[in-house]
């Protein structure tokens, strides 16, 4: 029997504008629990999607139980003994546990009749064997999330999985549920099943896994034994320490008077769970404030709240004397708050609109473009679009080209051109360089700094810690919906920062937010 259950060699997976996996080697021993650790965008999920057959790798090969494979679909992956439990469960809520598990592989009596009892017996046997208690007759929509996850695991085992991939399994679980998941994984290990645990939680990786492989920006940083490492070391591996200065941040000029203030902001995410739990922020003119944090700690919602796109449940947002709490996006735009949204396809642009039409999105009410609701100055809009195209180097055949036919970098240039030419007093930039190539990234960063030099207050939200450190004048660390610390990027200890981002506090003596 081969030593490894799964071996991935030199996996490369490219997406337009980004290399998600850049030559990854990954080996999973039989009967081990292997943590796959990394920030969002590090390439964990893509790597596992390649293993599960959801993506074909551009290069590299996958050896499963000693046999090399290159291209296969998920159905084949299941046949090869690989099961995946997605972060969002793939269950039919109205069916029972047994019906969900046997879906697609229903046992039958005399070839046609559904044999529910056989399925239930088999499921009960699995549940006993692996210590995953479940009632096969219960309806899935009546089960708590932790048990639904158990259903997913049993489903994978029922289909003959030897290797389980769990994508952020504890993200949806309570503390106790996470503990019992850990116990279940140990039972699976005892049965010689192998598990890959995708996570970005350090404590959990160390507590549940045997070995941990850390990914960063599509590459393997290293593989360590859980017993021989600690959170600090892992944090350092995850966020790295090589700072590449691509733009030069000049000395601040001008007065740093307060522009936008947020006090005790609370807000819910799309599922209605409280994600911002009291944010206090102060944006100042002539300053870039960078938000550092691991994705999912409330950054996306913060950007939306500060641009009027997401209602707050409490707290106060004010711009100088003006109270903006509870106002809509229109009010924020009119107040002079520009927003470079993280999702340019969904928010920043109407993809099926031309550049002309996109150039005035959010600005359509300006007198220069439209003196009344039933009058648009077409010539003025075209001229303005051409100005943006020229001034911001948008590469496009014409002003009438559809936004969807532009590359990501050019789309972003258009958005930045539109927002910057508003002469805003505040710019909320959410992941402004995501998915761009090096040139595009540099350009965007320069533009943000230029706006700051001209007196705007810039809020930079980025998952790229290097970017936050390079561009910001001040760094605020967000963790679990709160700003847990504020630091000076020039003097901050990178490992401290990593620990703050990943745990919300420092393991040493707790320090109050200092160094502004």
């Amino acid at each position: 029997m081969p030593e490894y259950a799964v071996e991935m060699r030199g996996i490369v997976k490219r997406f337009p504008g980004v290399v998600a996996n850049d030559g990854i080697d990954f080996a999973l021993e039989r009967g081990e629990i292997h943590g796959l650790l990394g920030e969002n965008g590090a390439g964990k999920t893509v790597l596992m999607s390649v293993l599960y057959g959801l993506y074909y790798p551009d290069e590299g090969e996958i050896v499963i139980n000693g046999t090399p494979h290159r291209h296969y679909r998920p159905a084949r992956a299941i046949g090869l003994g690989i099961g995946m439990v997605h972060q969002h469960f793939m269950l039919v809520p109205r069916l029972t546990v047994a019906e969900n598990i046997m879906l697609g592989q229903e046992p039958t009596k005399r070839g046609v009749l559904l044999d529910r009892d056989a399925a239930i017996r088999k499921i009960e046997a699995f549940s006993q064997q692996y210590g995953l208690p479940i009632d096969p007759r219960a309806r899935v929509n009546q089960l708590p999330v932790g048990e639904q996850q158990r259903v997913e695991i049993i489903k994978a085992l029922y289909r003959g999985a030897d290797t389980l991939i769990l994508d952020e399994p504890t993200a949806v679980l309570t503390e106790q549920e996470a503990e019992s998941l850990g116990e279940a994984l140990q039972r699976l290990k005892a049965e010689n099943k192998s598990t890959i645990l995708i996570t970005h939680k350090l404590r959990e990786a160390i507590g549940m896994c045997d070995r941990i492989t850390v990914l960063r920006k599509g590459r393997v940083v290293g593989t360590v034994h859980a017993k021989e490492t600690n959170e600090r070391e892992l944090a350092e591996m995850m966020v790295g320490r090589d700072v590449v200065f691509t733009v030069h941040r000049s000395e601040r000029t001008g007065e740093c008077e307060t522009a936008l203030t947020a006090e005790g902001i609370t807000a819910c995410d799309d599922r209605g769970l409280e994600i911002l739990k009291g944010i206090d922020l102060e944006l100042r003119r002539h300053e870039v404030l960078g938000i550092a944090g691991v994705q999912g700690n409330g950054q996306a919602e913060l950007a939306e709240v500060l641009s009027g796109l997401r209602p707050t449940t409490g707290g106060r947002i004010s711009l100088g004397e003006m109270d903006l709490s509870g106002r809509n996006a229109r009010a924020f735009i009119d107040a002079g708050i520009a927003h470079i949204p993280s999702d340019r396809h969904l928010r920043g642009l109407v993809m099926t609109f031309s550049l002309r039409e996109n150039a005035i999105l959010g600005r359509q009410q300006e007198k220069a473009f439209s003196p009344s609701p039933f009058w648009q100055r077409q010539g003025a809009i075209t001229r303005f679009t051409r100005e943006i195209i020229d001034a911001f180097g948008v590469k496009t055949p014409s002003a009438g080209t559809l936004a969807q036919n532009l590359s990501g970098g050019n789309q972003q240039r258009l958005i930045i051109g539109r927002e910057v030419t508003k002469n805003p007093c505040v710019i909320i930039a959410a992941q402004p360089t995501r998915g761009l190539d090096v040139g595009g990234i540099e350009y965007v960063r320069e533009q943000l700094l230029k706006m700051r030099d001209q007196g705007a207050a810039v809020l930079l939200i980025s998952m790229d810690l290097d970017e936050v450190l390079t561009v910001s004048d001040r760094i605020a660390v967000i963790y679990d919906g709160r700003i847990v610390a504020t630091r000076d990027p020039d003097t901050v200890d990178r490992r401290d920062l990593g620990e703050l981002m990943l745990t919300g506090s420092l393991s040493g003596t707790p320090q109050p937010g200092e160094a502004t």
Binding site: L309, I333, P341, F353, Q364, F369, W375
Partner: protein, 341 residues
């Protein structure tokens, strides 16, 4: 771009006729006889061309109605009901209000539009405030409107014309009539109004801020929201405008073709609007063409029926096939994109 769209549409229509032939052949009908009669009924002589245009007139309005809502990302399949409400209102205003000539017509049109708009407002409001699917509400409200207006002209009801047995109102005043345009055909000035509304809708959608915002909501509600546009208000507005234009369709029939409200006057112009709007690929100017096609099919199928070459329903079959092939390329493209993911 425009050329490609037009080409695709023409291809779809040819394909539809091709498949239509197969169906006719399978049904044992003479294909040449059917098409000869279809042609004769639609374009054979002055009267039949007039018939095509008469049939096309209300479809211009209902197609525009569908398209306005569609551009805002909504499915208004209730133009039929909005048209009936407009028709009834035009009749009432045309009968009871005394005004000089042209002004009376204008007031009737506006009143009919307002009634249609009110009927469109209900689903729009429900969609915006409660997220109720407009597909269901517009369709259900159509039935309500059709039978409600029927009730008003039923025997012993106050709008019933007692001189005749059928469920209809008395004639509208002469001042409120949209005169015939091309005698001896049935074509009335309503078709000119239709042409004017086509231009207005085009101007609104592509040359005004309000229309720009409406299209933004239809293409990407999230981006529209980001652009400071109130998605909910736009939804209500779009449904009101769709209802307004559908109401005009009813006014055109009442003030022009019939000069009175007749219960169940529409053979399904409202539903034809869905096809008309889709075949026009939601472009107002395309509606002139698609409504003409729909009208020709309707006029032609009457002749097919009269001649006995095949049941008149063949027009509905062809209409259905045209829509199918017009939508199919989009569907196929979308499926390919979805598969690639």
């Amino acid at each position: 771009m425009l050329l490609r769209e037009t080409g695709l549409t023409l291809l779809s229509i040819s394909l539809a006729f091709g498949v239509g032939c197969i169906i006719l052949w399978a049904g044992g009908y003479s294909i040449p006889a059917v098409f000869a009669n279809l042609w004769k009924g639609a374009f054979g002589n002055k009267i039949s061309i007039g018939q095509t245009l008469t049939q096309a007139t209300p479809i211009i309005f209902t197609s525009l109605s569908f398209l306005i809502a569609f551009r805002c990302g909504l499915f208004n399949i209730g133009a039929e009901g909005q048209m009936y409400m407009g028709a009834m209102t035009a009749a009432v205003v045309g009968i009871y209000l005394k005004l000089p000539g042209v002004l009376h017509v204008l007031v009737c049109l506006l009143a009919a539009g307002a009634a249609g708009a009110a009927w469109g407002w209900i689903p729009g409001y429900l969609k915006a405030k409660r997220g109720v699917n407009e597909f269901v509400t517009t369709m259900m409200l159509s039935s309500v409107a059709i039978y409600f207006t029927d009730l008003l002209v039923a025997p012993r009801m106050f709008l019933h014309d007692t001189r005749y047995g059928s469920n209809q109102t008395v004639r509208v005043l002469q001042t409120a009539v949209l005169p015939k345009l091309l005698r001896p055909t049935q074509v009335t000035w309503a078709i000119v109004v239709g042409g004017g509304v086509v231009l207005l809708v085009w101007y609104y959608l592509f040359r005004t801020r309000s229309g720009y915002e409406l299209r933004a909501v239809g293409q990407s509600p999230s981006a529209a929201e980001y652009g400071g546009i109130s998605v909910k208000r736009k939804i209500v507005l779009a449904m009101c405008m769709a209802g307004f234009v559908a109401g005009l369709a009813g006014a055109g029939e009442v003030l022009g073709t019939h000069t009175r409200f007749i219960s169940g006057f529409s053979p399904g112009y409202g539903w034809d609007g869905i096809a008309g709007g889709l075949i026009a690929r939601a472009h107002p100017v395309g509606v002139l063409f698609s409504a003409f096609l729909m009208g020709a099919l309707r006029a032609g199928s009457m002749q097919v029926q009269r001649s006995g070459a095949a049941p008149g329903d063949i027009a509905s079959v062809l209409q259905g096939l045209v829509i199918f092939f017009v939508i199919a390329p989009t569907l196929i493209r979308r499926l390919i994109r979805w598969r690639r993911r």
